[in-house]
Amino acid sequence: MAGIRLENINKKFGKTEVLHQVNLEIGDGEFVVLVGPSGCGKSTLLRLVAGLEDITAGNIFIGDALMNRIEPQHRNIAMVFQNYALYPHKNVRENIIFGLKRAHAPKDVIESRLSKVVNILGLEDFLARKPAQLSGGQRQRVAMGRALVRDAKVFLFDEPLSNLDAKLRNQMRSEIRRIHREYQTTSVYVTHDQVEAMTLGERVVVIRDGYIEQQGTPMEIYLHPDNIFVATFIGAPSMNILDARLFDGYVELEGCKLVMENGTPGQHRELPKTGLPVKLGIRPDFFIDRRHAGDGEALAVIHNARIDLIEPLGFDKELDVQIGSQLMKVRLDLRTQATEGDTIDLCVDMRRTHLFDIDTGQRLQ
């Protein structure tokens, strides 16, 4: 086992630069999730670590060894490919144990590891089949098995659960966690599913257009996003970003004065008389119906929000709400009686909201 260190990684395909000055340190035994929209360079980053692509500039270390010039087959990495890449002429069993056989693992080790992995992945019935005779989800599980069975220094997962149904995906997620807890193998896991990122990662790295936007524990990223992109990308439904004005000690949103208990961010700046235009970020989950708000908390109130649409989700209701000229999503629990067309007073804890610079999208400090 070993950690991974990326130093100033640059990757160009021809003239297009796909990764820019990426610095990332992954501790020994850590489980890191790379998350970002499609095409942001997650797979590319993974393939650089695997050695399947050459880096344009920068250094990659695994453990303390510089990997830049090490062939992929000598890096002792197991990888789950986004497109499975199973050996079509080998059956499931042969596919899974191929790597162990190449490494000349003893027979009994091969057998015990195989049966364990097969058991976890529920592949018992398919061992003799060829990949062409499997469904997409089954193939994906074989691809997982082929990696998990190995005794590798590093596991790389490229969207390994994308083809599974919701139930199987949940189940596999917990299995991956369990396996990681047991083997403690350094793992890098790529996904564009932010739920997966939140539940799996010890650390989440948010990538956009080849830049690392933010990294931290799932909760850090959720509660303290550095910029609008991260704020809206992580969390579902995504954070409302509203036009507001910042004054000393409060934010004015569509005529409502939302007082901030722990002071004004960006206090060092000169605030104009008419207020500083800012973006106010509020997660839909952090609204409370005023009627159900407790007394003790110091909550800001948004008056007279008009309800456009209500979607009951069981325990929650998701509301499309209009305040002034702006739309936002609100999630309230099932006690809320309001119906479409009503107006409602919403409370929000200003410590859970975020102010972003209107130009750069960065959070105001």
């Binding site: 695997a50 992929p72 990888m79 490919f81 890449a85 199973l86 050996y87 062409a132 005779q133």
Partner: protein, 320 residues
């Protein structure tokens, strides 16, 4: 449109197909028929022999000894000429009566087989790696190489015969049997390589590169990946290429006729057939039987190749 043909259309289509197939097959049927006819039957236009005659096959395969050829009347009259000395007379008679050189079919068969099989094997090995390089690797001069390979194929044949023979004379290969055979082997390999490279290269391109990446993750070097992934997945195409090379070499006449002219023992079947046609042993049933026997391996190869042309071995490995 599909499945909407009337029976009239179906009938016409079938008839048309029949005509075309019959037209193509007729020469072969003619060969087979003549090879099985007795001499008295040769002029008979019917394709079915009056009485089956297996003698020619028997002779060629060495199962029965060759029939003596009757000395033609013209020659008999010539021999009666008193001005011919006794030794000359014997010489002439000998030419007609010895049967040793009728057509040692098995010998020629083996010659041809060894030559074709080794040419095909070497060509296949070279083209596996060549095609892999051309389809997977990026190197300077790649396009030039790729183009010039096809160029070699387009030039080929008669144009190169004289220079190639001169070359092999100059370096001393053409002097000995071994040297000549080696030259011929090289020529066959070079002649078949372009198409082999082309066929295999195109096939390799259909095998997803991700499979090799997966093999690399499992600890295979590039060359190992060729052996454990590419080759097993290409078996049908490899066989097809082998058969193609084999057939080309098997039927080749031009170069063999030049390079093996002096080495009768090492003649290949096409050469031997040609010699047979020209010799006094050129009896129709024998010629036709020899042609038939020459053709059979080709047909067998072809059927074999057809069976292997079912693709789809590489399916199911990657998500499309």
């Amino acid at each position: 449109m599909l499945g909407k043909r009337t029976w009239v259309e179906n009938g016409l289509l079938a008839a048309a197909i029949f005509v075309v197939v019959a037209f193509c097959l007729f020469p072969f049927v003619q060969i087979l028929s003549t090879s099985l006819k007795h001499q008295f039957d040769w002029g008979n236009p019917s394709l079915i022999p009056v009485k089956l005659n297996w003698n020619a096959y028997g002779e060629l395969l060495g199962i029965r000894s060759a029939e003596q050829v009757d000395v033609p009347d013209s020659v008999k009259r010539l021999l009666e000429n008193p001005s011919i000395s006794e030794s000359q007379r014997r010489k002439i008679l000998d030419r007609y009566q010895t049967t040793s050189d009728v057509f040692p079919f098995l010998r020629y068969f083996l010659n041809t087989f060894m030559l074709s099989a080794s040419a095909a094997a070497v060509s296949l090995c070279l083209s596996v790696f060549g095609a892999y390089a051309l389809s997977r690797l990026r190197f300077t001069g790649q396009t030039v190489i790729q183009r010039s390979i096809l160029f070699v194929y387009m030039v080929g044949g008669v144009l190169l015969m004289v220079p190639l023979y001169q070359m092999s004379v100059k370096i001393g290969l053409a002097k000995s049997v071994g040297g000549s055979l080696v030259s011929l082997l090289l020529i066959y390999i070079i002649q078949t390589l372009p198409v082999s490279l082309y066929m295999l290269g195109n096939y390799f391109r259909t095998i997803p590169y991700a499979l090799e990446e997966a093999a690399a993750m499992d600890g295979c070097s590039r060359v190992e990946a060729v052996f454990v992934i590419i080759i097993p997945l290409s078996v049908p195409m490899l066989m097809t290429v082998f058969v193609y090379c084999f057939i080309i070499a098997w039927n080749e006449f031009l170069f063999a006729s030049v390079f093996l002219k002096q080495f009768h023992q090492w003649h290949t079947l096409p050469l031997a057939l040609q010699t047979l046609f020209m010799s006094k042993n050129a009896i129709w049933d024998r010629i036709m039987a020899a042609s038939m026997l020459t053709m059979i391996p080709v047909v067998v190869c072809f059927l074999f190749a057809m069976r292997n042309l079912t693709g789809g071995l590489a399916e199911g490995g990657v998500k499309e």
